[in-house]
Amino acid sequence: MKRLLLIALCSLLPLTGNAMTPEEQGLEIAREVDRRDTGFHDFKATMTMLLRNKHGEESLRHMRTKALEVENDGDKTLIIFDRPRDVKGTALLSYSHQTGSDDQWLYLPALKRVKRIASRNKSGPFMGSEFAYEDLSSQEVEKYTYKYIRDEQLNGKDALVQERYPVDPNSGYTRQVVWIDKAEYIPLKIEFYDRKQSLLKTLEFKDYKQYLDRFWRASEMFMQNHQTGKSTLLTWEDYHFRTGLKDSNFGKNSLKRAR
């Protein structure tokens, strides 16, 4: 029923209306993407990263993640590292915000130390991968300004193409080009342009699955760095939604308990 309502709603969206500027259209698209992904409450999943350098050498990262939706703000997430073994038990707690820097605490199991870290470092590589922290953090509408570009087919799917520009001056990007599936309002591909305006990376979302008959999640995210020749394949598995997680699962104590 909800789904029907959503489809009805979106057909009412004046996406191609004459009255709207490309900026307004871009913002409307972003809001619709956000609207359709609101209400999941919480989820748990496992993440595997396959890092490959330009010589074809590979290494693996295993993580588990838990996320909690926060009304009118960014999500709370906890990422627990399982492999490589020397970082096992390391955990990262983030409170992301719609505007301004996120709050982040890192737990170092060898010293049992919880360290508040400077989270302005968004552009740095996550675990040596081609994903930056900002690529993985919760995607809030307020984090970008937008501009609708065109409609286009991508791999046989009708897509909306928009550009978005990070609001945060500490972002590693000046611009991102995003292909959004016109039927489901989910991202299919993102091109990232660095501070010198050159194409840095391309992210492709593959093998989308729908959870709770509503929320779409890509099972694979493939990030190719065009400047270094390195790539990272991020695989998401064991998604569980609405598992009953609450605020107390995202506190300092839970960070120390994370296994």
């Binding site: 890092l51 350098n53 290494s59 693996l60 492999r83 490589p84 073994r85 020397d86 970082v87 096992k88 820097s101 709050d103 010293l111 049992k112 130390r113 919880v114 360290k115 508040r116 870290i117 400077a118 989270s119 302005r120 470092n121 552009s123 740095g124 590589p125 675990m127 040596g128 500490n170 590693g172 107390s248 506190g251 300092k252 104590n253 308990r257 296994r259």
Partner: protein, 392 residues
């Protein structure tokens, strides 16, 4: 304690098995200067083993962790030692948590020294930096609410600090003889110490306030004659009341840090603090590397009479984080005594090799340390250390 033993007995009967992880590490240390005492060696080889067993049940509300530690050292009998770092049962409720057994706790924010971190005793034979700790028997109750986290500790049983033996380097002259340890408390090492800590995050600020009442983890060292008619240092453990504050402000690329304590014993009252900053240059020269600049000042109101090394000292350091696939890191710095000629130079570096190996190195140098400095007797013990660890 009885419940604890009961909990342990339950483990084998649980159908679902836990998980073993951990590491084994080889270590070589080379001392670049001649030892003060001919009994001490110029190099040492050592092997450490630290497995960890973890098992959770009751929908992850209950868990047990067992983490023994073993080290064999080719030269120093005191450094060849074993410890139970953790043997801890945890029960998590909604906004509360109880832990019982042997555990490890860290308090604090600064880097040059860990002033307010009082729960665990230092395993000094492991490393002169004092960051390695012995497991502490504890019963801990923790509440996490909107007003922050409140931790209440009962700490039954005191652990004596470990000190290098006769053949070991990085020791005092005369050496410390733990057989002669004595206590202010009539209960000796059986006293139950108490601690309380409130911590909270308010926007960019992280604050911790704590009080500890119990046997001081830092002993006074008094020269005495032992049964073999040797002059040795005997540790004396006083009772203290210690109130401490730790504070960090996270402002963009700046971290501002302060640890302060006020400690009271029958003999003296002590005020001491460490404060400073860490500033990080992100993406150094358009690379993925981050460079952190650290500066901290350490103060102890007892000045030169303080039985500790850092009473009016400044620390300046650099932290290089490569953010590469091998997680390469380097931390280097100097501590300068503002009242004397003494310097301490320190370097720590590490890098993963493949998926399950890690190589690390340390260099520590003591430069121009005058005879009246507590560090004087180890100032001949400059060393280079290499470690190779295999994780499983």
């Amino acid at each position: 304690m009885k419940h604890w033993i009961k909990a342990l007995c339950l483990i084998p009967s649980l159908a679902c098995a836990g998980e073993w992880t951990g590491y084994i590490e080889g270590q070589g240390r080379y001392f670049t200067q001649e030892a003060l005492n001919p009994a001490q060696s110029d190099s040492t080889l050592s092997l450490a083993f630290e497995p960890e067993y973890y098992h959770a049940w009751d929908d992850d509300r209950q868990s047990i962790v067992f983490r023994p530690f073993l080290r064999w050292d080719s030269q120093d009998n005191n450094r060849t030692h074993a410890d139970i770092r953790e043997l801890l049962w945890t029960h998590v409720g909604d906004e509360w948590e109880v832990q019982a057994g042997i555990g490890k706790v860290f308090w604090g924010v600064t880097e040059a020294r860990h002033l307010v971190d009082v729960i665990n005793q230092t395993d000094l034979v492991e490393n002169p930096d004092g960051e390695q700790k012995l497991g502490q028997p504890m019963l801990k109750l923790s509440f996490e609410r909107a007003w922050g986290v409140l931790d209440i500790y009962a700490l039954p049983g005191f652990r004596e600090r470990t000190f290098p033996g006769k053949e070991g380097r990085l020791r005092s002259h005369p050496r410390v003889d733990n057989d002669l340890a004595s206590y202010e408390s009539s209960a000796g090492n059986k006293r139950v110490d108490l601690a309380l800590r409130w911590s909270h995050s308010l926007g960019d600020w992280d604050i911790g306030l704590a009080h500890f009442y119990g046997t001081n983890r830092n002993p006074l060292l008094q020269p005495v004659l032992n049964s073999a008619n040797e002059i040795v240092l005997a540790p004396y453990y006083e009772l203290i009341h210690q109130t401490s504050l730790d504070l960090q402000a996270t402002k963009g690329d700046w971290l501002w840090k302060l640890e302060a304590l006020y400690s009271r014993s029958d003999r003296e009252d002590v005020f001491s603090y460490t404060g400073g900053f860490e500033y990080t240059f992100i993406g150094l020269g358009d690379s993925d590397m981050d460079l952190g600049v650290l500066a901290e000042y350490m103060y102890d109101e007892r000045g030169d009479n303080a039985p500790i090394a850092f009473e009016n000292d400044a620390f300046i350091g650099l932290r290089l984080t490569a953010n590469d696939e091998q997680s390469s890191e380097l931390l280097t710095g100097v501590i300068k005594d503002m009242d004397s000629s003494a310097w301490l130079y320190n370097l720590e570096a590490s890098r993963r090799i493949g998926d399950s190996w890690k190589a690390s190195a340390q260099i520590r140098l003591w430069i121009d340390v005058p005879e009246d400095d507590p560090l004087y007797t180890i100032s001949q013990d400059d060393y280079i250390e290499f470690n190779l660890a295999r994780y499983f």
